[in-house]
Amino acid sequence: MESLTDQIEADKAIARTLPGTYLFDGTRAQMNFALNKMGMSLKHAANRRAFKADERGYCQQYGLDDATTALVLARDWIGMVHAGGNIFFIYKIASVDPLTMQHLGAQQNGLSLEDFRAKLNAYRQS
């Protein structure tokens, strides 16, 4: 009989072996808590203004390490995901600019916005 642990591991293994996918489990949730917390803080308009006024200082205030701060300043979304960013919290950084989820999708795919939109629209045929 398959053990409970085997079931859990098998379930996670499916998501973990998907290309370009980063299962947001406990391991990732711990990876860069500070980055996600900084993103969450931007739900407050006053914090968005403070971030805009001094992005680097704001990142330091939330305890981001230098590498992560550089990713934020560069709006390197795929880099932030690799570094433990959760899309819903880093999206709040994007919203300050403002960028849409399509911009984030395009950059993560290494595509121009136009090409990424074409890719999305191509699903209409399927």
Binding site: Q7, I8, A10, D11, K12, A13, I14, A15, L18, P19, G20, T21, Y22, L23, F24, D25, G26, A29, F33, N36, K37, G39, M40, L42, K43, H44, A45, R48, I78, V81, N86, I87, F88, F89, Y91, K92, S95, V96, P98, T100, M101, Q102, L104, G105, Q108, N109, G110, F116, K119, L120, N121, Y123, R124, S126
Partner: protein, 283 residues
């Protein structure tokens, strides 16, 4: 007793809210989606629910990674649209029904669901967009919501998400609680989220209409097939964020074994999300 009069299920996407709030619903990009919502609005108007239970997930408005509940049921007198990072939606506040909510909470905890109970809660696009689709006019416009609401949130942001099987059982328990309510309220359940989409990683933009159509085909006649799929399979076939479809299973669990599909709409895509919608009544 109160009566479950029907279920509507629908995807929830921030940009659908933006399209409604900025008058873009007749825009060529959005028109096919919003045209498809018309019959659902008629369905909901005819149901005329006194209370609408909205099963949704929070995307970083009220829930951060410091404290993630699996299931939450709210019992506040009022809920307002919160600021997710791009300002709150300019829509009327939602009126709650604390007496009904507390009845639900007591009956769900007694059935061994380990809820988080809210007395204060703001709601995000996962809640407000489906409400606008269901109750608003062509462009989501509305002066006052014609229903009281109960927000029920389900963890879809941090693994482990609740299993599909657990979500279905949660719906069954909600139904028992509705049936036990000593009023004559008409209750609708709005199941939200999905369908296939992925927002994070190089796979962002992934959709899979074939899986979504299978899900829609099985939803009414054969939910067991959907409950038996592991979460990993949802993430594989519907995308890392497409696992939100577990919230449709909460709504399905609340219905009879036999149900009728009244209406279905499927549109690829609303931004990165394959947008599905279904209207169902007990047979």
């Amino acid at each position: 007793m109160a009566q479950l009069v029907g279920v509507m299920t629908t995807s929830h996407v921030p940009s659908i809210g933006v399209a409604m709030d900025t008058g873009l619903t007749f825009d060529p990009y959005w028109k096919p989606l919003f045209d498809g919502y018309g019959p659902a609005k008629d369905f909901v108007r005819d149901l005329a629910p006194d209370i609408t239970i909205v099963v949704y997930n929070d995307h970083g408005l009220e829930i951060f990674l410091d404290r993630v509940p699996t299931f939450g049921v709210a019992a506040a007198p009022e809920y307002v649209s919160g600021d997710e990072g791009w300002g709150p939606r300019n829509i009327p506040a939602f009126k709650g029904d604390p007496a009904f909510s507390w009845h639900l909470i007591e009956h769900l905890v007694a059935q061994e669901f380990d809820l988080t109970m809210y007395q204060e809660l703001q709601v995000d696009h996962g809640f407000t967009v489906p409400m606008s689709i269901a109750f608003g006019g062509r462009s989501g416009e509305i002066a006052a919501w014609p229903t009281r609401v109960v927000p029920i949130n389900v963890n879809c942001i941090q693994y482990p998400l609740p299993q599909p099987r657990r979500c279905f059982k949660f719906g069954q328990a909600i139904r028992r609680a509705i049936d036990a309510y000593p009023g004559h309220e008409r209750v609708m359940i709005l199941g939200t989220g999905g369908m296939s989409h992925q927002l994070q990683g190089e796979r962002a933009g992934f959709m899979q209409p074939a899986f979504d159509r299978m899900f829609l085909d099985q939803f009414a006649p054969n939910p067991q097939a959907l409950i038996d799929l592991p979460l990993g399979t949802y993430m594989k076939e519907a995308g890392h964020e497409g696992a939100e479809l577990i919230m449709w299973l909460v709504a399905r669990g609340a219905m009879n074994a036999d149900i009728n599909e009244v209406y279905r709409h499927y549109h690829v895509s609303a931004s990165l999300t394959a947008a599905g919608l279904g209207c169902y009544v007990n047979a």
